[in-house]
Symmetry: C2
Subunit: 643 residues, 2 copies
Amino acid sequence: MSSHTITTTSAPTAAPAVPSTGRLRPLGIDAVRITGGFWGRRQSVNAAATLPHIGERLESEGWLPNFDLAASGALPHGRRGREFSDSEIYKYLEALAWEIGRTGDASHEERFRAVVARVSAAQEPDGYLNTHFGREGQGARWSDLEWGHELYCLGHLFQAAVARERTRPGADDLLAIARSAADLVCAVFGEDGIQSVCGHPEIEVGLAELSRVTGEPRYARQARLFVDRRGTGSLADIEWGRSYYQDDVPVREAEVLRGHAVRANYLAAGAVDVAVDTGDGPLLDALRTQWANTVARRTYITGGQGSHHQDEAFGEDWELPSDRAYSETCASIGSIMFAWRLMLADGGAQYADLIERTLYNVVATSPAADGRSFYYANTLHQRVPGIPADPDGTSLRASSSLRAPWFEVSCCPTNVARTFASLTAYVATTDDQGLQLHQYAAAEIDTTLPDGQRVALTVETNYPDDGVVRVIAGRSSRAPWSLTLRVPSWAEGAVLRAPGEDDRVVAPGTVTVRRAFEEGDVVELDLPMQPRFTHPDPRIDAVRGCVVVERGPEVFALESVDSAAAALGEDVSDLRIDASVPPHETGGRVYVRAVRSNTGSHAWPYGGVDVGTPSAPQEVPLVAYHDWAGRGPSTMRVWIPAS
Amino acid sequence: MSSHTITTTSAPTAAPAVPSTGRLRPLGIDAVRITGGFWGRRQSVNAAATLPHIGERLESEGWLPNFDLAASGALPHGRRGREFSDSEIYKYLEALAWEIGRTGDASHEERFRAVVARVSAAQEPDGYLNTHFGREGQGARWSDLEWGHELYCLGHLFQAAVARERTRPGADDLLAIARSAADLVCAVFGEDGIQSVCGHPEIEVGLAELSRVTGEPRYARQARLFVDRRGTGSLADIEWGRSYYQDDVPVREAEVLRGHAVRANYLAAGAVDVAVDTGDGPLLDALRTQWANTVARRTYITGGQGSHHQDEAFGEDWELPSDRAYSETCASIGSIMFAWRLMLADGGAQYADLIERTLYNVVATSPAADGRSFYYANTLHQRVPGIPADPDGTSLRASSSLRAPWFEVSCCPTNVARTFASLTAYVATTDDQGLQLHQYAAAEIDTTLPDGQRVALTVETNYPDDGVVRVIAGRSSRAPWSLTLRVPSWAEGAVLRAPGEDDRVVAPGTVTVRRAFEEGDVVELDLPMQPRFTHPDPRIDAVRGCVVVERGPEVFALESVDSAAAALGEDVSDLRIDASVPPHETGGRVYVRAVRSNTGSHAWPYGGVDVGTPSAPQEVPLVAYHDWAGRGPSTMRVWIPAS
């Protein structure tokens, strides 16, 4: 860990992760307000459409009524949903808690309290809380650690309770419910308890944060026990190996993320919490290495992770097929949790770079514009047009098809909702020198620096539609402080304009302006937003000879609706880009020059294949990947063969 | 169907498929004897090692003892194995039947009779035969058509009985066992019976052949009913869609194989049988189209099929990843069944081309040299060295690792065994004009042509080690007849030498020599065996920019054991071939010129990747794909990036 560590103040910080120490200190969602633009629109849709949609589905699917059945003693008869359905109620509560903290909306508050009451009624006197286990006719408590998800569900309960306590402290029973359950977990799984872990990590991060909120050291110790036990083979071996649930190698010995991509990231996030809170440098070093290797060799251009459908898992190094990309939405949310925690610990811009990439190109891709349907998996190459989901139906999880309103395994909608509701927490941090801006959105920031100075900033920007980010001081400061801006890794040639300084080109990484700001001072970062071709590492076999078009933080895709309109046909499998002509922007759309290869039909596709006479080149517009399939079923590719 | 159809004689033909009509007539395994070489060695190992190995495992795994438990009324207690384990006993019996027919080996005969007796004892009085269903404590008969595999198992029973009846007619009870079970199937699933099908096709081909052997038309009618019902949605919808078991589209409307690759091929083979026996031209046309589209767009260079691990299924057109190739051994055996039936119907060399490719590069790849371990899935790119299987253990099915002695789902070893034991059936056929040689192996052929002439031929060849195939007439003929030789699709520049003719270059397809042969006449086909680069259709994204090396019918691979020895390192992910230097053969091995790219380590693998300074070029030997991993754990790739 860097020697420049700070200790957080005792005041509650309304953020999802509030480490005890670290290079950077998170700002609460009460200190940052996104006022519009790309993310502002998504927060509004999340509040107005997604949260009500989730609430309705949790009722109609029976997953919330399961708690009523538990309270009335009517279980197991009538229980509906998979073994982990309780967790969706907790993620929904977490999302509501952040949303209430963000806006104070009364209807969300009313709904929150009603749901908490129903959860409370289902809790057993000893703290046990799960609708799928422990009753006559159900499996015994903790009898199926591999697949039962009991501790996983409680981890999400703890995160919900933490969100509520950090936004509306003492407002209701949720923290008490969580403490009671956590006390039971410590008793059952403590030093002398069951020597095992949950098949799906999540309890680790939940316990760590619960310890931070409550000051209860037993929860932190239990989180550590779970991290230390992982990788010792306490879970049963399975078809895909124990790597599936990271029980193959101890966390501190692993060199890369592997196995189920959501599990891997949730575990890593919780392990960072444990490492930071216990000052465990070797553990933190191991996690830094795992992050770096995973990003360098096992991550899609979108930031997505996981290339195996079968086990929703990471593949080997360089195994990143576009057409079989799994890139589960939840894995990316886990990746953001992991990267953010490392950033708070270390302060590196590379973590915020990955978070930005992942937010724009996976998290923003999942929900439809109306916030009522979602991608669970995020393919990078759709070979046949998807099939519209039944708007009243429940879809299977991973079909590479169109966005669906709900899934049998519906982890992604609630995960998107809690992320959007807490999004302002990822915009900025502070340290002893000042304030750091990591993500760019039209925003108001109002906080107090460690030296006691109050700082008010307005961020004016249309980013990512254009690259100008203006940070305006809202009050004069009595002493100099440092405003640090992230310069994204792709932003070669970015220009900084600051009061009293000559304009200057700044390199990717971070740039700092230190001064006693006067009210009205403007620091402007001008990021280069012309679209660009990006080439892959030649070891990624699946996209050899292809390029992707990026513009700012956004990845673009070629969709058949556009290729057809450009007289290049409906089938994107036979198109190629003229890479000698740079992509260009016209009328708000990004264009490339492309030809149809007109590869003929052959009895055998190897050897002697006539590649035909290409069509005349055409200018064809691309679509931001997060918007793909927004115009109905289509074929699509992110990586495009280049000639 | 072609107008040049023939009707088979009433004499039993000892072959796996004996259609009632067709362009070509199969020869029985008694008419052809492989005398050595590539396939002769494999038939010997199959007889001496694989069959005993299977016999031992069927005992030790409890799959054959399940029949004893059934007979003694001790089921379901103690039953072992998956729901379809009975089928392995039947495939083992089929393999033994062909082997006994081939060699008359007494110990195999003794074993065969003992197993038949145990199967017989397990059959219910009404003909029902399955150790997993129908007893107290088990699922009811036919209660799980999607996954129960009852009809699938019976299909294999029928194939075993057919093999026995065609090689040792009337020798034991197996045909009676099969008839009794088939009668029950007709009663239960007939016109007015259960209006559904088995989740795993196989009964169709089994019933069709059983009808041919017994002359019982009800079995053929039942096969037709099952084919006609397929694709009408009588099975439950599942996560991967009804295409998984081909219940999405009626067989006569489908345009390509899809879903589970073994299921798809078994169904198609049975549907050809039905189409041929009932003169259903439209159905046969649909199957020809499916075959052509599948071969043109959904088949690996090895002949392997199936690119999805999750559902062991075909992917979309052009979705042929090397590293995630599933290419199940059994799917290739099903592909041979399908192609062979179309060839008997139509006579096209393209079918024998695919069979040859598939035999050399998938079926021969599965078993180890000692015949006691097997690949279930056949990857084309091994990214990390495999892990040796426990020689006494039971492996999971699809790990891309090293060959394993047995699997929890152990369909492949028995399928390989029955294919090797009956391999001579695929060597040659006859028609009214004469005899056709489809596969080249050192062999003796002795048969009678439809005009009554007895023909004896010796095939002398070291193929595929060299390309000279000499066919020597063993007796003089009284009238002219046509000897037709297949010229493989890759054999550009093949030379034919025939008595009384000038040597001539012959084009891929077939070449015919018609004459009244004199004893000792030699027809020689000289096939070009220099190694060659083969390029993929540019629409196959996964191998863009790569080449494969082939030599004759064999596909070659680059293995780390060789790249390391050639000073190019252990990791094949960073190697590329100099495609301007043709592959060449030296000292019996095939070499290419390759460099290590030395791509650096990067924090992010997209954009600005330093591809490094390549190493000095080295000559590196390749290995025949069927031999890969024969020298221990390695990384491997079939498709190699070319510069």
